[in-house]
């Protein structure tokens, strides 16, 4: 996502969730979203079978 797309995502998402944001917060939110989406790309690039079970309550 480029910056305008991220800004559109931030605007739509915060409006949907009812989180009021100040203009001066936007650059940091965008930075953190960029880092997080980068990590998500890394996770999604790993192929897992359809049967893979999640670990919402994990037991070691």
């Amino acid at each position: 996502m480029n910056d305008p797309e991220l800004d559109a995502w931030i605007d739509a998402g915060t409006a949907l969730l009812g989180i009021p944001i100040q203009p001066e917060w936007r650059a940091a939110i965008r930075l953190h979203l960029t880092i997080t989406f980068g990590h998500a790309d890394t996770v999604l690039a790993f192929e897992l079978p359809d049967e893979a079970e999640p670990a919402p309550v994990f037991r070691a």
Binding site: I19, I29, T36, F46, L48
Partner: protein
């Protein structure tokens, strides 16, 4: 002249039990030291002086009456302020939670430590809502590193690191979701134990990411870690994640030596971004253990990425209502990360949880032929307070989200870790992780203890 090391919990308990020292005197000395040093270190947010004096009086009375005292008799301790202390609001480093009513009861781990004779002396500074690796806090101010007060303690268990390293208490409790015990242990030059996920009860603590949250002790010796850990073990119906396992004491075998234990050094990802001091510390510990084998963990970068995604989304969900109504009252450094976390699609989080199970199975196979893995705890020594970026693998990166590079892939699957402090030359201390198989805290503690007995690792006393 070098000052002698601060007394350990084991020494204090021994002397109180022998009658050579009164618990009341231990507490007065502790309160005096907090009053002298904490204006600089900023590790405490509340000092429970009255409670501690009452408790010390009860222990001394029990001793006079000939009653048997617990293994931590008279030992002062303090807890990260996300852990419930009866009579105090559980602020979790935030402004918002200080409006909460005081906790009605102590957290399970506080109850268990006091049952063993320890004495709570206060609550400790932390990064807001535990979403932090720096020890900075917009509301309470930054905790300061006892080895150099211009530097970070690390976080989010920042006061826990500073109070133990600064000799204010021998034992503190912290929490570790992605590295928040191991990072301050590394930067402050002390020992930290992040137990297996589900080993120690989290009942009565304010959560961050339930999927990944652990509680554990920080101390200046391995014996103190083991004493505290043993006292806190056991199932707890009030924490659904706490495992229904019997107590498996680590202290009684901590000096069993390391003969026969197979130790390897994590390679690849765990060396790639490490600074020279982190690599030197790792090599120092590996050489002492004669650990020449190198091992590649499967997909550690992806594991860290998945831990990151789960943390930000789950943490944001926890705070969603507060973000809607009180966003301006958050620490700005935390608020902006949490707002971003609220905007993460569910598909990303679910896939990260699926990957987590795959990664857990893959890493557990490594322990078929190994007992422990060594890795750096942090890529560098303590940065300066206020520092925003650092250089990782030749690239300038934001500091706050990246200090946990080496801790996140380990806590992601709940493996037990002891962080041990290394001091080389005149430099600042830095930690090395000793990572064991699930439920084998005893193995990590034995290795750490052997290193400590040989003088390879130790908690240095900071300048007065």
């Amino acid at each position: 002249m070098t000052e002698p090391p601060f007394p350990t919990a084991a020494e204090i308990a021994h002397r109180v039990t022998d009658g050579a020292l009164r618990a009341a005197d231990v507490i007065e000395t502790t309160l005096q030291r907090i009053a002298q040093r904490d204006p600089v270190l900023n590790s405490f947010t509340a000092v429970t002086a009255h409670r501690a004096r009452v408790r010390a009086g009860a222990i001394d009375a029990a001793h006079r009456a000939g009653q048997r005292l617990g293994p931590l008799a008279g030992v002062p301790f303090a807890v990260k302020n996300l852990i419930d202390v009866a009579g105090l609001p559980t602020v979790a480093g935030s402004r918002i939670n200080r409006e909460h009513p005081p906790a009605k009861a102590d957290a399970t781990l506080v109850v268990r430590l006091e049952r063993a004779g320890a004495i709570l002396v206060g609550a400790l500074n932390m990064g807001e809502y535990a979403y932090d690796f720096t020890g900075e806090n917009a509301h309470d101010g930054a905790a300061r590193n006892p080895h150099d007060p211009t530097r970070m303690t690390g976080g989010s268990s920042s006061g826990s690191g500073g109070a133990v390293a600064g000799g204010l208490v021998p034992i503190a409790l912290g929490s570790d979701t992605n590295g928040s015990i191991r990072v301050p242990a590394s930067f402050c030059g002390i020992f930290g134990l992040k137990p297996t996920y589900g080993r120690l009860s989290r009942a009565g603590s304010f959560p961050f990411v339930s999927s990944l949250d652990h509680l554990g002790p920080l101390a200046r010796s391995t014996a103190d870690l083991a004493l505290a850990y043993d006292a806190m073990q056991g199932p707890d119906p009030y924490d659904p994640v706490c495992a229904d396992r019997p107590i498996e004491p680590a202290m009684e075998r901590i000096d069993a030596g390391i003969a026969g234990l197979r130790v390897a050094v994590a390679d690849g990802y765990f060396r790639a971004g490490a600074g020279p001091e982190a690599l030197a510390a790792l090599d120092h510990v590996a050489a002492a253990l004669d650990a020449h084998a190198r091992i590649e963990l499967p997909e550690p970068a992806r594991a860290r990425a998945a831990a990151y995604v789960i943390s930000t989304a789950e943490g944001a969900t926890l705070h969603l209502q507060r973000l809607r109504t009180r966003a301006a009252d958050f620490d700005p450094e935390v608020r902006d990360r949490l707002i971003a976390g609220a905007l993460v699609p569910a598909a990303f989080v679910q896939q990260a949880q699926k990957f987590r199970r795959w990664y857990r199975d893959a890493v557990q196979k490594l322990f078929d032929g190994l007992d422990a893995i060594l890795a750096p705890a942090t890529p560098c020594t303590a940065p300066l307070i206020g520092q925003k970026t650092f250089v990782l693998d030749g690239v300038e990166m934001p500091l706050r989200p990246n200090i946990g590079l080496y801790t996140q892939p380990i806590s992601f699957i709940g493996l037990p870790v002891v962080a041990v402090p290394v001091v080389l030359g005149e430099g600042l201390p830095i930690g090395v992780q000793i990572i064991a198989a699930p439920w084998r805290e005893d193995v990590a503690l034995r290795i750490a203890h052997e290193l400590e007995m040989r003088g390879v690792v130790y908690a240095p006393r900071p300048p007065a």
